[in-house]
């Protein structure tokens, strides 16, 4: 796609460093996809601004010239949320890298959107604090991306998601105006909860240029337990029993046989010999609670048929337990040339049933499915394995992957627990929500982006024309018509 000269000229006025304005087709290709690499679109031009004023000016130009634009963090997204638009501008925030402030007394950090998630905790550690949301991609993903996706992590069972840990954002609106949502370092800013509405809007309501996050005190004690089971259903029942026992673990993760096999091959994590399923349960908090709680969890696992239960005795043992879990996605590559990472949610109680159904789906299609998931909150990450070089396997894998999402919807769950809708799941939105639900969400979008220029084609299957107001009559007011009222 040729870049209109007028656009280039105007962008050059804003971005003076040539390196930060990319229109060379070969270089543009670096930005054609995010972590979901089978969606690829080369953008018309890429800009890497370094100040809010630049972002605002760029967006203003796009708005005036009616050119679509997409924000990009570090491109680790798994729903093609940062997928560029072919005739649009890609605005990459990766040069916004400053941690402005670690405010110990207020337990807040003020950071740029391009700051890496883990770097916030690193910077806060001297103050005895950390940033709780910990997506598995935390060494590479950006805070701006986290805000856009409302990212979670293994510990969100207890601590919640990004939306619970952000108290303020600075945003460049789709017309270039710079605004602040939230209370900065205070909570409960008066008026509509724009912060709550913005977080998780997948880059469709504006571009985040600064983020204020909550920092937490490091817990006094952390205990991690590993339990092996003969079946996923036993493990699933143990999970329900743990939750019912009034303990709120920081994390409950589950892996099935295929996922364990892959992890063992890759990182030799030493999970219980022959286990069909493993559970990782982590408790954190005050000493006594954690010590008593972990005993209860151990007892529950044993009474639900655990073949082996281990509680990490050292930081090294704990790290090894997590290494198996955290390497799982990458490790799948050792047992299958290609795979799809799915992300769906079910009510925790139907876990055993749904896992059974997934197994049946896979068997019927001749497709293997490995299961790795956040069991505590019912967030499944089935890994659908296939070999693209085998005729028809990709199609069958896609069908299985789609059918898994249908299962989530059928059981009252969600089409995505943390990876977002992006471009990838737009077609499922209409299955989870009806046209009125989607129309209502788009009212919000229209309030921000009437022209549908800000990350178009994401989240919603069809854009709403912002001028139209369904069910409303135009022209003379009916009461005026009836002579019952006067306009004044």
């Amino acid at each position: 796609m040729n870049v209109p000269q007028a656009l280039l000229d105007r962008l050059r006025e804003i971005i003076t460093d040539d390196q930060d304005l990319i229109s060379d087709p070969a270089l543009l290709r670096t930005f054609e996809c995010d972590g979901l690499a089978h969606y690829r679109v080369t953008p018309m031009v890429v800009v890497l601004p370094t100040t809010v004023a630049q972002v605002s000016a760029i967006v203003r130009v796009c708005h005036e010239m009616e050119i679509p634009f997409v924000a990009r963090g570090n491109g680790t997204g798994l729903s093609a949320g940062a997928l560029p638009v072919g005739d649009g501008v890609l605005i990459t925030l990766s040069k916004f890298r400053e941690i402005h402030e670690i405010d110990r007394a207020n337990q807040r950090a003020v950071v740029d959107p391009g700051v890496i998630n883990l770097d916030v905790s690193k910077a806060a550690s001297a103050a005895g604090l950390y940033y709780a949301p910990d997506p598995s991609s935390q060494q590479i993903c950006s805070i701006g991306g986290n805000v856009a996706e409302n990212s979670g992590g293994a510990h969100c069972l207890k601590y919640g998601f990004t939306t619970h840990h952000v108290t303020g954002v600075e945003v460049v609106l789709p017309d270039g105006e710079i605004v602040n949502f939230g209370g900065y370092k205070s909570v409960d800013a008066p008026g509509y909860d724009l912060l709550g509405a913005f977080i998780g809007s997948e880059g469709t309501l504006g571009i985040t240029t600064k983020v204020v996050v909550r920092l937490l005190r490091r817990p006094e004690l952390v205990k991690t337990l590993l339990a092996g089971f003969n079946s996923t259903s036993e493990a699933g029942e143990a999970v329900s029993a743990i939750i019912a026992s009034r303990i709120l673990p920081a994390a409950i993760e589950m892996m099935d046989a295929l996922a364990i096999e892959a992890a063992e091959k890759t990182v030799q994590c030493g999970y219980p010999e022959g286990a069909n399923t493993v559970l990782i349960v982590e408790l954190d908090g005050p000493n006594v609670d954690v010590s008593m709680g972990i005993e209860r969890v151990q007892h529950i696992c044993e009474s639900f048929g655990a073949t082996e239960v281990r509680i990490a005795k050292s930081e090294a043992e704990r790290a090894l337990i997590w290494k198996g879990r955290k390497s799982a996605f990458a490790a799948i590559g050792t047992i299958s040339p290609d795979f799809i990472i799915q992300d769906g949610v079910i009510p925790r109680t139907v876990l055993p049933e749904v896992l059974g159904e997934i197994a049946k789906l896979g068997a019927a299609a001749g497709i293997r499915v490995a299961n790795v998931f956040h069991a505590g909150d019912g967030n499944l990450h089935p890994l659908v394995l296939f070999d693209e070089s085998v005729d028809g396997e990709l199609e069958r894998a896609n069908a299985v992957s789609g059918a898994i999402i249908d299962l989530c919807i059928k059981h009252g769950g969600s089409i995505t627990g943390e990876h977002g809708v992006g471009a990838d799941k737009v077609s499922y939105m209409g299955k989870m929500f009806n046209e009125y639900d989607l129309d209502t969400m788009q009212l919000l979008r229209c309030a921000f982006d009437r022209e549908n220029l800000c990350n178009p084609g994401k989240v919603f299957p069809t854009p709403r024309l912002c001028g139209e107001v369904p069910g409303h009559h135009r022209g003379v007011h009916p009461l005026v018509e009836k002579g019952l009222a006067e306009l004044f």
Binding site: Q107, F161, I243, R246, G285, G378, N379
Partner: protein, 409 residues
């Protein structure tokens, strides 16, 4: 007296004095008994350009500002009552006409709770969502917006829509439940909500420390950085030199609560009064005129010092309660309604500038009508233009509770 409107079967009656919203009396009150009737009532109101206001148990009906125009009251209390407690999933689906206390009673049977306090007696779930008001437990569990995971709303044009879902972890689509929370009923009616629940703790214990003004900062920092994981961290100060009380709620296993109590007493250097039930002031709003103040937690001492000054100088008695740990306080001015208008204005200005200096905001949460008419209830609101655009999208004819909310919304 009930008359039937021409195109709907919803019961309607002529409004009485008791139906007034902040002194403004509607002509009629509609009492829909199901969602269909509610939608029809809204559709009809939009078609006829009728201004309308929603009500539940009317415990907070005089919060915010008086509506600019009002022809129809819509009483939601006769809508169907729904409580579906999915105990093993720790979620509940509840219709918004249920009172929070009734909901808690049902949840308690399965040893669970919605970790939000009844701040105003008899409040309904709908009133709680509309005002977004949370009490002491917000320190440990977050506020209404943090625990609501899904909602069904009816827009001013009568369109019913769902947002979020019944699972806690869910990022599909925009989080409109948060947008509706704290919107003072200006975007539509929330008819049902899903909430995340928590298990009831085995034990709870309230620790009360008596401190003085200049200890606020060091004490609160010690608590914020302690390892005792409080569920609530409250303050009560009558600003008259009679002493300041800090209240800390510890919950969990009995042995742990005991251990944490002594650990906290040790680090604060004071033996607290230990109560198994909350003190009488716990989680309640001051009487009469009440400001809601938000602030950065590290600025609470400076803020409280200013409240003492104002309290001493103006002849006003201020009473401050609230979650000092979260930075959300309630400042009560019991005699405000007896003050001349300019003094109320002055008082509001003083409290508001103290809040601003502390990095937060101040709104008049509730006050006699006379007081609210003479002051700027909401103050300056950032990003107001965006809020107005949202209102214009959801309610293009400005029919629902016009003028009740910030910036004339």
């Amino acid at each position: 007296m009930a008359d039937q409107s021409e195109s709907s079967n919803t019961a309607r009656r002529v409004a009485g004095e008791e139906d007034a919203v902040d002194g403004v009396r509607p002509l009629h009150v509609a009492s829909p008994t199901n969602s269909h009737e509610l939608e029809e009532t809204f559709r009809e109101a939009t078609r006829l350009r009728t201004h309308f206001v929603l009500s539940g148990n009317r415990t907070k009906i005089d919060w915010g500002l008086a509506p600019r125009a009002l022809e129809l009251g819509v009483d939601l209390s006769r809508m169907p009552v729904i409580v579906e407690h999915e105990a093993s999933d720790l979620v509940v689906r509840v219709s918004t006409n249920v009172s929070l206390d009734d909901l808690q009673l049902q949840l308690r049977q399965k040893h669970q709770r919605l970790a939000l306090d009844t701040v105003v007696p008899n409040t309904t779930i709908g009133g709680m969502i509309a005002t977004g008001l949370a009490g002491p437990l917000r320190y440990g569990f977050g506020s209404v917006r943090d625990l609501i995971i899904g909602a069904t709303v009816v827009r001013p044009d009568g369109v019913r829509a769902a947002t979020g879902g019944r699972v806690v972890k869910n990022v599909a689509g925009y989080d409109l439940a948060k947008l509706y929370t704290g919107s003072y009923g200006t975007l539509g009616a929330v008819t049902e909500a899903f909430f995340r629940l928590h298990a009831l703790p085995e034990t709870s214990q309230f620790l009360i420390f008596d401190i003085s003004l200049h200890d606020i900062r060091s004490f609160s920092q010690l608590v914020l950085f302690s390892q005792v994981a409080p569920s609530a961290f409250e303050i009560r100060d009558a600003c008259d030199g009679s002493g300041i009380q800090l209240g800390i709620l510890l919950e969990g296993f009995e042995a742990s609560v005991r251990e944490r109590t002594s650990s906290l007493a040790g680090s604060l250097g004071q033996e607290p009064r230990v109560l198994s039930h909350p003190p009488e002031w716990w989680g309640s709003l001051p009487e009469d005129t009440t400001f809601k103040v938000t602030l950065e937690v590290a600025s609470s001492q400076e803020f409280m010092a200013q409240m003492h000054e104002i309290s001493g100088s103006s002849g006003q008695r201020l009473l401050v309660t609230g979650s000092i740990g979260s930075g959300v306080l309630f400042v009560g001015a019991s005699q405000a309604d007896r003050l001349p208008a300019e003094e109320i204005e002055n008082l509001t200005h003083q409290v508001r500038s103290a809040a601003t200096r502390a990095g937060g905001f101040c709104v008049v949460l509730r006050a006699p009508m006379g007081v609210r008419r003479s002051v700027d209830v909401w103050g300056t609101i950032p990003a107001l233009s965006v809020m107005k655009r949202i209102k214009a999208q959801f309610d293009p004819f400005d029919l629902l509770a016009p003028g009740r909310f910030v910036g004339g919304i």
